[in-house]
């Protein structure tokens, strides 16, 4: 991970009355697997389409490899896109699909032939040259779409929710496939998804977006464990997000009870949000933890049980491998380093994050 390959500078884009991107800044380093993550309408796809050249920003520049490509048409850009619905050319064979870009660049027959072989091998579909796209399964079609893109040796591969149309099992297989591909090819991936699991599994860097603004940039671990605001916390995994007061450094008052924590620098008696992941809550016998409560719901989820515990007028979401039947009296305990403190939003821009989508 070295220098900046792509740099979005002050990008704004509006459709009619709706502002999709507002003064958007982001850079992507070479060989990075960067994921734009957010709910639909957050501007992630628009960002990708601006980079692909299918949309022109109203303001701002896109710098690619040191050159301004803002006004360059898509066919002149050194990057390739894998579209959400594959967008294979249905009237061409698989081989013709893969050869499409190479033929336009007037590569030799032998070169094209070798490239097709190589690409099909790469996506584990050798021998499919003469099939027609609609005789392939969804996962196979998606891999062909990837093969078609990578034979052109792009510096960046853009993937627009490529796994969105696949079923769960296939989606998981494809995630590993993509990681492998990225390692073998050694190129930059810009990945767009609304699926947090995909983002967490594959990315080097995740950019969480909402309503045209970047909420947080970080590694999957950082995003998951230390969400910077309630939106990120809520969007990535399930969480208990509770209004609280920072009494002093390393001490936060949640629902009227003081909890020791590890965060500092929020000042004294300042309102904050705290995030506690459901799997970080330990259920003890009544009186042994910080707050006593009673189990109100119980669902078996396979890996764990999901429970809701009513304590101090708040419904705590708890994941545990131990089962506590509904009605059981329990006590809640949270380790200090499992309490994530977040600043309350102050400006209007930041307010956006609290609006439920």
């Amino acid at each position: 991970m070295s220098n900046k390959l792509i740099d979005f500078q002050n990008i704004s884009k509006t459709y009619g009355m709706q502002t999709v991107l507002d003064d958007f800044n982001l850079y992507i380093r070479e060989n990075e697997f960067l994921t734009l993550l957010g709910p639909s309408g957050c501007g992630k796809t628009t960002t990708l389409r601006i980079l692909g050249g299918f949309e022109t920003p109203d303001a701002g520049r896109v710098i690619f490899d040191g050159k301004d490509i803002t006004d360059l048409p898509p066919n002149k850009r050194q990057l390739n896109t894998v579209f959400q619905k594959y967008a294979l050319f249905t009237h061409m064979t698989i081989a013709e699909n893969i050869a499409f870009g190479l033929k336009i660049k007037n590569k030799s027959k032998q070169y094209i032939h070798d490239k097709i072989k190589y690409a099909l091998k790469l996506v584990n579909l050798d021998g499919y040259e003469n099939r027609m796209p609609d005789s392939l399964s969804g996962g196979q079609q998606q891999r062909i779409a990837i093969a078609r893109a990578i034979v052109n040796e792009p510096k960046v591969l853009l993937l627009d929710e490529p796994l969105g149309a696949l079923d769960l099992k296939l989606r998981q297989d494809m995630q590993y496939e993509l990681i492998r591909l990225k390692n073998e090819l050694g190129i930059t991936f810009l990945y767009v998804t609304h699926d947090q699991e995909e983002a967490l599994t594959m990315s080097d860097t995740i950019v969480v977006m909402n309503q045209g603004y970047i909420q947080q940039i970080g590694t999957p671990e950082m995003i998951y464990n230390e969400p910077e605001n309630a939106f990120v916390a809520d969007f990535i995994g399930e969480s208990n997000i509770i209004s609280a007061t920072m009494v002093e450094d390393r001490l936060v008052k949640i629902l009227g009870v003081n909890f020791p924590c590890v965060d500092e620098g929020f000042g004294q008696n300042k309102p904050v949000d705290v995030v506690i992941r459901p799997e970080d809550i330990d259920l003890l016998k009544p009186g042994e933890g910080s707050i006593d409560g009673v189990v109100t719901h119980l669902i078996f989820k396979g890996v764990h049980y999901e429970m809701e515990v009513m304590a101090n007028n708040y419904e705590w979401l708890v994941h545990s491998t131990d089962m506590f039947p509904v009605g059981t009296q329990v006590s809640i305990h949270v380790d200090p380093f499992d309490i994530q403190i977040m600043k309350k939003p102050e400006s209007e821009d930041e307010e956006a994050v609290n609006i439920e989508e």
Binding site: G52, N75, K85, A87, L88, K105, M132, R148
Partner: protein, 627 residues
Amino acid sequence: MIRKFLQKLYLALIFIILYAPIVTLMVLSFNQSKTRAKWGGFTLKWYKELFQNEQIMSAFYTTLIISFVAAAAATLIGTAAAIAIQGMKQRWRTFYMGVTNIPMMNAEIVMGVSLMLLFIAFRMKMGFGTILIAHITFNIPYVILSVAPKLKQTNRHVYEAALDLGASPLEAFFKVVFPDIVPGVMSGFMLAFTMSLDDFVITHFTKGPGIDTLSTKIYTEVRKGIKPEIYALSTIMFVTVLVLLILINYSPEEKEDTKTKKKRAKKPSKVKKILLRRVIPVTICVLFLFGGFYYSRESNVMNSDKVVVYNWGEYLDPEVLTMFEEETGIDVVYEEFETNEILYPKISSGAIAYDVICPSDYMIQRMIKNDLLAEINFDNIPNIKNIGKDYMEQSRQFDPENKYSVPYCWGTVGILYNKTMVKEPVTSWSILWDEKYKDNILMQDSVRDAFGVTLKYLGYSLNSTDLDELTEARDLLIEQKPLVQAYVIDQVRDKMIGNEAAIGVIYSGEAIYTQMENPDLEYVIPEEGSNIWIDSWVIPKNAENKENGEKFINFLCRPDIALKNFEYITYSTPNVEARKLIEDDAVRNSKIAFPDLSQYENLETFQYMGTEADQTYGELWNQVKSH
């Protein structure tokens, strides 16, 4: 069981209703006899004659070429338009789709007339070009309508994917988007092609002299009866379309087949490929070669010395035209019309400058009255001496000074009866009201003919405008109604030949022909008098080659030429010298073809009576028909 049987019966009925007419037509195309009423044995002669009939074949090629070029141009424009509309914002898209649909909803006649007016306003010469423009215009909406849904279906990302892979927008369109919408484009083309192929109304209003499509050509033949050659042509066309349809439908079936066997490699089927890459292009090339050959031959003879003739359909031996061209070096531009009423607006609008036209008596009177005709310089028509004095006298009824017209064909209206069914001598119109012949009487389905007969029977003029006389005639017609088998036009001929009725009101020209087919038939002009009709050559005021027109009329008055035309048309000729040349005694002395006019004092031509009287007649006729 019963339900299944009924289902099958229903289906069978639908098929019978759909295909019975076509089967009838196909059978008739092999009928030796020229009339529909009789089976004269199996023959292929109509097919042979079809390919030798230059007029039909040239109309056929014109039709194919216009349809093909119009469909191709409309496909090009329509597809481009559909793409543009697809790219618009929703609001505009709805608006433009609505606008394109209007010409399709519009009545064809409105479209035809407005196009004609437009062409006249721009002073365009009516002909191949104007028909083509008109056809392209009305074809475009059909193309848009069949391409637009295909475009809507295409995945927008497919186009972007092609751009993304380095294709320029144009490359992306042709390599990726176009193959996806090809079915829509093809069906748009086919739709446009068929719409053009059988269009009559719009073609009729936008065509000029010297050009006919199949539909207009067939329609001009209505007056004299559609020729069996047309049955043959229709059969060939039907079979061709059927074969093409089977071929086209055969290939997708194969495609389905491979689709189900997913494991197998799948390529576009061979049949389809051969069809697309070989058969269709070759057919098109052959078509163009023929067409090109035909047109180059046509255009070779185009020179400035010409005469533009507008005549009834099938109302002149085509050989006569060739002879005239060879003898005089003047080119004939020949166009045909079907009724006087269609002829009139074309002349009065002055859209096309005809040099010689052939209206009927009352229409000539109307044209003289409206100052549409030029006085003929009879110095240029010395052959006028061959026209019998009687006919010049009769012509005075509509051309009082014999200044504007030269008689060409004439005839009477009378009674045709079957001697085996009517034993008594027929002398009066009264037989049409005789209860004995209930359901055996055929009347002409036309206002003037029906009233003319009745007025004559009552002893009045057949041009009467006296309301009392007309009301009396109406009541008599209503009284007659239960006796009448049918009110028909053409079918009098066929039904009488087929012994389907005993008595019919008919024109003498047809009577000659029916008698040849069925010797039991006899024609008589009732003693109360009847209608005599004369079709004469006249020259419109806006003629550009008046002298050539006069040369043409003079040529037609030559005895040998008049004879040729008489033999072709079989309607009575006023040319006495020509009559003398008729070889067959029976025909030359036929009482039907050449009744002694001096015997009948009460023969009248129809007169133009003005719109008011026309309306009165129309209303009274409606009362009869709806009674």
